[in-house]
Symmetry: C2
Subunit: 332 residues, 2 copies
Amino acid sequence: MKKFINDAETVISDALRGLAAAHPELRVDLEQKIIVRAEGPRPGKVGLVSGGGSGHEPLHGGFVGLGMLDAAVPGEVFTSPVPDQIVAATAAANGGAGVVYIVKNYTGDVMNFQMAAELAADSDIRVETVLVNDDVAVKDSTWTAGRRGTGATVFVEKITGALAERGASLAEVAEIGRRVNAASRSFAVALTACTTPAAGKPGFALPDDEIEVGVGIHGEPGRRREKLQTAKNIVATALDAILSDLPLASGDSTIVMVNGLGGTPLIELYILFGEITATFRDRGIVIARSLVGNYITSLDMAGASITVCKADPQMLESWDAPVRTPGLRWGV
Amino acid sequence: MKKFINDAETVISDALRGLAAAHPELRVDLEQKIIVRAEGPRPGKVGLVSGGGSGHEPLHGGFVGLGMLDAAVPGEVFTSPVPDQIVAATAAANGGAGVVYIVKNYTGDVMNFQMAAELAADSDIRVETVLVNDDVAVKDSTWTAGRRGTGATVFVEKITGALAERGASLAEVAEIGRRVNAASRSFAVALTACTTPAAGKPGFALPDDEIEVGVGIHGEPGRRREKLQTAKNIVATALDAILSDLPLASGDSTIVMVNGLGGTPLIELYILFGEITATFRDRGIVIARSLVGNYITSLDMAGASITVCKADPQMLESWDAPVRTPGLRWGV
């Protein structure tokens, strides 16, 4: 294993120290391991908290800021944050109007955010949870009962963040978060496995000419392995999986993300996006907004995921609202 | 080789098609292979043109837009663009006040931009060239006489872009570009080699426990190979090289970039940035602005470069000016 680290034990602390130094608009509590907006919670604003295992950066810490999250809770690499951490983030994000948890569907995350919600209720903080489970690849997975939560998390965080910033209620913010999740589907393909600092070797073995079709963001197995295909064929496979689960008609508007899993050159992500564009054009599906880049990664994995959200006008308008975070920024 | 491509021959065309679809604010001429702002040249504004071999994305095409480049000229992967392409970009960027070329110091780029400048002069377009040669690792290299041009290119493009946007003259824009280059130094370390689509295999062989210290952005050899070090020691090596060439005193202001070469997780880049911050704090050097992420890559290479610019107030103020490009965006 070759990585820019000091010690596998201190990866998260060391990275948080760098994040804090690079982004003075964030406050990083190195003791409790939470990342919050430096200006603190705004009275009357619904707070947004997300988190999960580290290794998916910029998600979630890179999405803290104006128009997106109020707090992020990073666990160790690929390991859920603990309830105490989540409770601390909840308190830091609470402006008195309640807090929405955005939780990717992994058993540990779901359990620990649930415990934190109960502890928050003891402190009279109302919590609503939006569970993200957009990955159509497999029904159950290594750490998940039901579908895994992946790329749609970025869409949910952006769109709920816009509503919360404008003063929407707890119920309204949670509701649009659930609608965005319900309208989104993802599918990922890996060319290589990723290596966690603790393990020191790739999480699975993949022959030199094979790809993992439907891989999870921790390297969980997908639907099958197959020989390397052209970008065009890989996009066809991913879109078949997505569109057979989320039927789209001519004239439908979408937000599309082509996301790199960490080790994939941007030039290849643009090739994938170009193929999606061609397919959607043929079917009359409108790509109203798009993201191409690394947004929810899997350490150094070479691979990419495609996320499609069938977007209504409110979602698109919320998408366009100003956002100022390390990982996503426009309009300000 | 496993990549998301259709054919090694069509990588650039296919990627440009995706770039065009993702960024309607850009106009991508697939025939001539140039990327320009959709709104065209502004009369009286100095035009900024950069380019070079592809494989370093987001550089340069991802830096076309308000407050940065007017046009980018991508060559094939790791191959200089041809003079005709550069001339087409020059014409597209020309608002009548002259055009500045920002050229990384590689022999092919220097030669082809020089030929294009002569052809532009025949069309009565005044051209000034800013040569970027910031890489302190080696004196001469595989494709370079003198120092290689690397990370400082991002600083030069951002800061000249701000001045040009405000109506500075050709001489003023070129002058600050040269000053930024003269005030900047870079140093890179590779953990792995990159693989070009045409070659289909890694550009060099690096044992599992060794790193290339002082690598170039095409995988050119550096100063030496050594055993893998801690992030702290790698930063010490890079900063020794940089600061012995660019002496900084307590109180000096800098812009610092920690740049991923394509295959390095963001979390590791933050670890490196945290180490730089600690060193600079000890020496009283101020990090006034920073970038941590993938800005000038080397396809899928795992590695990172550090760039330090000793920044005067004009540079900092120009750094903060609004920029709206696919790769860098703030203030708008």
